[in-house]
């Protein structure tokens, strides 16, 4: 650490602040009572901005939710409990789907050489920038009530309507979420695979391991941190997903964000909306804390 020349030491150095550079070699001008600004002063503007634009509104939401009887009413309502269950199982199922599909696709892209493999890998990066409702819209064109699949069916069979109606059910939401969120799992996986030595795979196969065994016993164990990272990201994003659920127009599918929307905008019941929002936030933050705990233990 820097040693300060006697006489240049400040009377009251900021507590807990580590000096970031060596002490000034030239004498500091002492006229006019000029003093170095304490470091914590620099932290004030960003903290203030954060407080005004983020923490204050959040506090308002929490405060609003504390209206008398709001929690009791919401927790007692069947619609809330239903939304909670729907949100959690949709998020968990989507995450599992994304992990399985993402792992398979990433293994193929990373280890099975095929023409255009690089382009596919690049496209996944682009895909991450797409808005979620776009995927739902595309699925509507394909499997919607008047979509292409049903159109082909009615043309071929002459039936008045096609059989594809799953898009407005939870399964439609699940399909859309898996489609949209799978690349979020693939990105960290592909990054992890690019670091893997191909020599390991070659040695494994020379030792007599068939491709499936290599995937299971060599690639999968090394992909676990990336799977955990991608999976937890997708889980939190699915819990909070709004656009996909709204766009599929699934009647029976009400998730927590949808419930917040309908309470606040459609019913103007702000207290209930805020309660649901707080539960949603708690769920996300709780999962995040859990993920950090798990990943720290895995890393230790």
């Amino acid at each position: 650490m820097a040693t300060r020349a006697p006489g240049l030491v400040e009377q009251h150095p900021a507590k807990g602040v580590v000096p970031t550079g060596p002490a000034p070699a030239e004498p500091v001008p002492t006229t006019g009572g000029q003093r170095a600004i304490p470091t914590w002063v620099w932290a004030l503007p960003p903290v203030a901005v954060l407080a005004v634009v983020f923490l204050y509104p959040l506090a308002l939401v929490v405060q609003e939710s504390l209206a008398p009887g709001a929690y009791g009413d919401v927790f007692a309502s069947a619609s809330f409990r239903e939304a909670l269950v729907t949100t959690v199982w949709l998020a968990v199922a989507s995450t599992v789907g994304c992990l399985v599909l993402g792992f398979v696709l990433a293994v193929v892209i990373a280890f099975v050489p095929f023409p255009g493999g690089k382009a596919v890998s690049k496209f996944i990066d682009v895909f991450l920038s797409f808005p979620s409702f776009l995927i739902t819209l595309a699925l509507l064109f394909l499997y919607g009530t008047v979509g292409m699949a049903n159109g082909v069916w009615t043309d071929v069979t002459g039936d008045p309507s096609g059989p594809f109606r799953f898009l407005t059910t939870p399964w439609g939401v699940l399909l859309a979420e898996i489609t949209y969120f799978t690349p979020f799992v693939m990105r960290p996986l592909l990054a992890a695979f690019s670091q893997m030595e191909t020599a390991q795979l070659e040695v494994a196969s020379s030792l007599g391991a068939r491709p499936l065994r290599i995937v299971r016993q060599v690639i999968l164990p090394e992909a676990l941190p990336a799977l955990a990272a991608g999976g937890s990201l997708v889980l939190v994003m699915c819990l909070n997903e709004f656009g996909i659920v709204l766009f599929t127009g699934a009647k029976g599918v009400t998730t927590l964000p949808m419930l917040v929307y309908s309470k606040a905008i459609l019913e103007s019941d702000y207290a209930a909306a805020c309660v649901v929002a707080v539960v949603n936030i708690a769920l996300s933050v709780g999962l995040y804390v859990l993920y950090r705990g798990v990943s720290r233990r895995a890393g230790a």
Binding site: A199, Q200, E202, V203, A204, S206, G208, A209, R210, E222
Partner: protein, 351 residues
């Protein structure tokens, strides 16, 4: 069961570039064959055709009597050790060694014994419960060797196995590999290296590769003492190659007559004279060559002198001199007639 390796006119091409050109080579059962050559010479490609990672464009690869050209790697029964060890980082040493046994469905009861045996052979028994990241480079390479030996391979492929180790470890591991070879007298070993010391030390025969082709093949002594090509002479042992004209009782170099055996070479024809630097002496003697010192390198126990003779740099490794010769000073070099080899080839300039 004994089995050798046979390359039968094996060619490999990537997108129109031939990286291995009609290789014919046989590794006998129990023989250590070094594939020696500079990078890009095709030696690693040759090894990879045996392992099954590269499919030849033409030709066949045989292990024993079996044509394995179209066989996937996992059916070939090969032990392979690579430069970067390629241990499985999430498995302990014993699980790494057991990997191949499990993949080959060796009965469960047999596995611990064979793992212990392989670790014993490589001196790594005490480290069975460690993870690869807890081992040094040399220890990791021993584990990699144990892993390859555990499956009792029909052939052993070593791809620059010592290149990642420092010089001292390397010489220790060379002795280790030689001992392992004595303990496995039937397993043929294909050893790819660019290091001539490794090849000379370990190999029963050396196949010298350059520009995708097999240039020369023979015992280390053969290649070193009686190289057949200029490439072999310069790559193995870094020989002096002097363009000469064949005379009746010797050769003529830069107007000077030199006495060497010319067995069979037609008088008047061009040839290359090959002399090892450590067989060139300083001062007067038989076959004197006068020239100017252009570079001096002190190498501890020896001095390497570069002497310009008739427009060619002649290398001489002499015992450490008390006084370092001055650059530009005139000196005389000499060599014994029996220490030179005449190559019936075109004019070639030193390197």
């Amino acid at each position: 069961m004994t089995s050798g390796i046979r390359f039968d006119a094996v060619s490999v091409a990537y997108g129109g570039t031939t990286v291995l050109d009609r290789l014919d080579l046989t590794v006998e059962p129990g023989e250590v064959m070094a594939l020696l050559g500079p990078s890009g010479s095709g030696k690693t490609t040759a090894l990879r055709t045996v392992a099954g990672f590269v499919r030849p464009a033409s030709g066949r690869v045989l292990i024993g009597d079996r044509d394995v050209t179209g066989l996937p790697p996992y059916k070939r029964g090969i032990g392979m050790v690579v430069q970067q060890y390629a241990l499985f980082p999430h498995l302990r040493v014993e699980a790494n060694v057991a990997f191949g046994l499990k993949a080959q469905k060796v009965p469960k009861g047999e596995i611990p014994g064979r793992v212990a045996e392989a670790l014993e052979m490589t001196g790594m028994a005490a480290y069975a419960h460690r993870y690869p990241r807890e081992l040094s480079g040399g220890q990791q390479q021993r584990v990699a060797i144990a892993r390859a030996l555990a499956i009792r391979p029909k052939v052993l492929l070593l791809d620059e196995p010592l290149s990642a180790l420092d010089a001292q470890l390397r010489s220790g591991m060379l002795a280790e590999l030689a001992r392992l070879h004595r303990e496995l007298p039937d397993v043929p070993i294909l050893y790819v290296t660019h290091d001539q010391v490794e090849a000379l030390t370990l190999a029963d025969r050396i196949a010298v590769m350059d520009k995708a082709r097999l240039q020369d093949c023979g015992t280390p002594q053969d290649l070193y003492r009686r190289p057949r090509t200029e490439f072999t002479a310069s790559f193995v042992g870094n020989a002096n190659l002097l363009p000469v004209t064949v005379g009746t009782e010797g050769v003529v170099f830069d107007g000077t007559e030199l006495k060497v055996a010319v067995s069979g070479a037609a008088p008047g024809s061009a040839a290359t004279l090959c002399v090892r630097p450590h067989l060139v002496g300083l001062g007067d003697g038989p076959n004197p060559l006068r020239g100017q010192i252009v570079e001096v390198q002190w190498r501890g126990s020896t001095h390497r002198l570069y002497v310009e003779v008739g427009g060619h740099r002649v290398k001489a490794d002499v015992r450490e001199l008390r006084e370092t010769p001055l650059l530009g000073s005139e000196v005389t070099l000499h060599f014994a007639p029996e220490d030179a080899v005449l190559l019936a080839a075109g004019v070639h300039d030193g390197h």
